[in-house]
């Protein structure tokens, strides 16, 4: 009976396991579709989707799939065996975790930088004019949790300026912060310059002169043991190349 159960479990799970690794044919011959799975920081959502489309256009039979999330979440998932072929982090600390776990297929390369900006609802109801204003009493401030890159940067900025922030919520990713601002629940949120650009009319951005002091650097690397090694390398090159860099700059990212 015991072996029967085991057989049944295996029968049920094996086909699922097989689904996860359909990117075994990296040469992409014939009409077979090869899937490249890219794990990227939440702040890269819009840009990487565009870069992905351009990459697909130049590579026949290749489909790029993305998993966007907090960088710390993503690196944990990769450590637990998530089927990522490429990892793009919003800071070097989380990429270091990948390297330390011997999971980086190649030396990580920096492909973009980002700085902080304050996002407020379109009418800026609390009249936020600079980073110091975020400490105002009664202001509904939302920031990233200290363990995610945008939160770490916010914390560093606050420490640099000697401002004590009392957020009403610490969110798990920069997109969650933005959601609280666009819905009007928060008076202000600390996000990246690129998030303010991407949000368009949904938020008003408040820049502050000290923003250049804390710069987040975005590294990218293929993941060790990927079945689509060549394709993963190609994608990294593509992000670092002219097309990728142009998309990133249009979205407000800086060059490393």
């Amino acid at each position: 009976m015991k072996s029967l159960v085991l057989t049944a479990v295996l029968a049920l799970t094996l086909p699922l396991a097989a689904c996860g690794s359909d990117s075994d044919d990296s040469s992409g011959g014939g009409d077979k579709t090869t899937t490249l799975t890219v794990y990227a920081a939440a702040s890269l959502t819009a840009t990487f989707e565009e870069i992905g489309k351009k990459f697909e256009a130049e590579h026949d039979g290749v489909k790029v799939e993305f998993d966007f999330g907090g960088s710390s979440d993503l690196v944990t998932q990769i450590q637990e065996g998530a089927p990522a072929d490429v990892f793009a982090s919003a800071d070097t600390a989380n990429m270091d975790k990948l390297v330390d776990a011997d999971l980086a297929g190649d030396d990580p390369e920096n492909f973009a930088t980002n700085t902080l900006e304050i996002a407020t609802p379109p009418d800026n109801p609390a009249g936020v004019a600079g980073f110091q204003d975020l400490a105002k009493k009664g202001l509904q401030l939302v920031v990233c949790a200290p363990e995610v890159p945008c939160g770490a940067a916010t914390q560093t900025m606050a420490d640099n300026l000697g401002v004590t922030l009392k957020p009403v919520s610490e969110e798990q990713s920069v997109t969650d912060v933005l959601a609280k601002v666009t819905s009007g629940e928060a008076d202000a949120g600390v996000v990246y310059v690129t998030d303010v650009t991407a949000a368009g009319d949904a938020v008003t951005g408040v820049t502050f002169p000290e923003s250049g002091d804390v710069v987040n650097t975005y590294p990218i690397a293929p993941v060790e043991g990927t079945d689509a090694e060549d394709l993963a390398d190609d994608f990294v090159e593509f992000v670092l190349g002219d097309t990728g860099q142009q998309v990133l700059q249009d979205a407000g990212f800086g060059q490393p």
Binding site: T76, V142, A145, E147, S169, Q172, S183
Partner: protein, 261 residues
């Protein structure tokens, strides 16, 4: 009543065993990751205790609210009939099948600052978003149907005979409710309340969407575990085990066999 056992086809045990495995195997997987050496230390850290106490307090308040609102709801659904009752029942049970994150968005656009009642609440000086009240509201929203379903079922299976007798002997409706109906359905009420409490304790999606996440104010145990799993997976596993233990206790209290006698 003892029924004669009708034999089951032998093959049915295979998918049944598979189902049991599907439920139990992930728990085994999690337990295998527990760092027993530091378990006690991990589950009694300051922020763990803060999250646990916030979770227990908000879930208790939510359960009381469920009782105050859900008992009358169940009575109206079980003991009266009116046009559109079926529709009303389906609608109030909606949170049972709704993804919690959708519930959170609905709450946000109702009780949020720019929501349906935002201006009225503002005039009263009440701010709900990002407060512990928001957590309780989210928990009550998702767990209310559990109480209503359990209690309505108990009321229907208990029938109205004793209530009719009491009324015919001159007892007023409130006396009937207090002295006859309530004692009769007490087991159903208790298991419904325990289920509601458990659902409130596990609430995640609506809370993180509507209430946010801040230690001591809105970061309940599930949100704490979610936050923790990236920085300290060992602690996240340890806290998860605490919630599993609570869940096992809840099932022991509220398993279906008890509610129907």
């Amino acid at each position: 009543m003892q029924q004669r056992q009708v034999g089951l086809p032998a093959w049915i045990f295979v998918p049944a065993a598979l189902g049991v495995t599907l439920v139990l195997l992930p728990l085994v997987g999690m337990v295998s990751r527990v760092e027993w050496g530091s378990f006690f230390e991990l589950v009694t850290s300051d922020s763990a205790l803060t999250a646990l106490s916030l979770s227990l307090r908000t879930s208790l308040v939510a359960t009381v609210l469920c009782l105050l609102l859900g008992v009358p709801m169940a009575l109206v659904l079980a003991r009266t009939s009116f046009r559109g009752q079926g529709l009303v029942r389906s609608l109030v049970l909606l949170p049972l099948v709704l993804p919690p994150v959708v519930g959170g968005i609905a709450l946000l656009y109702t009780f949020g600052r720019r929501g349906l009642l935002g201006d009225e609440l503002d005039a009263l000086g009440l701010q709900i978003a990002f407060s512990t009240t928001a957590v309780v509201l989210a928990q009550t929203f998702v767990s209310l149907p559990f109480l209503v379903v359990s209690l309505e079922g108990a009321l229907r299976s208990a029938g109205a005979r004793y209530e009719e007798v009491a009324a015919s002997l001159g007892a007023r409706p409130t006396t009937v409710f207090r002295r006859v109906t309530l004692p009769l359905v007490m087991p159903g009420l208790v298991s419904g309340a325990v289920l509601s409490f458990a659902r409130a304790l596990g609430e995640f999606g609506a809370t993180i969407t509507f209430a946010g996440s801040l230690e001591g104010t809105t970061r309940t145990l599930p949100l704490f575990i979610y936050n923790l799993r990236v920085v300290d997976p060992d602690a996240a596993v340890a806290m998860s085990l605490v919630l599993v233990a609570v869940a096992v206790l809840v099932i022991a209290f509220a398993r279906p066999g008890r509610s129907t006698w």
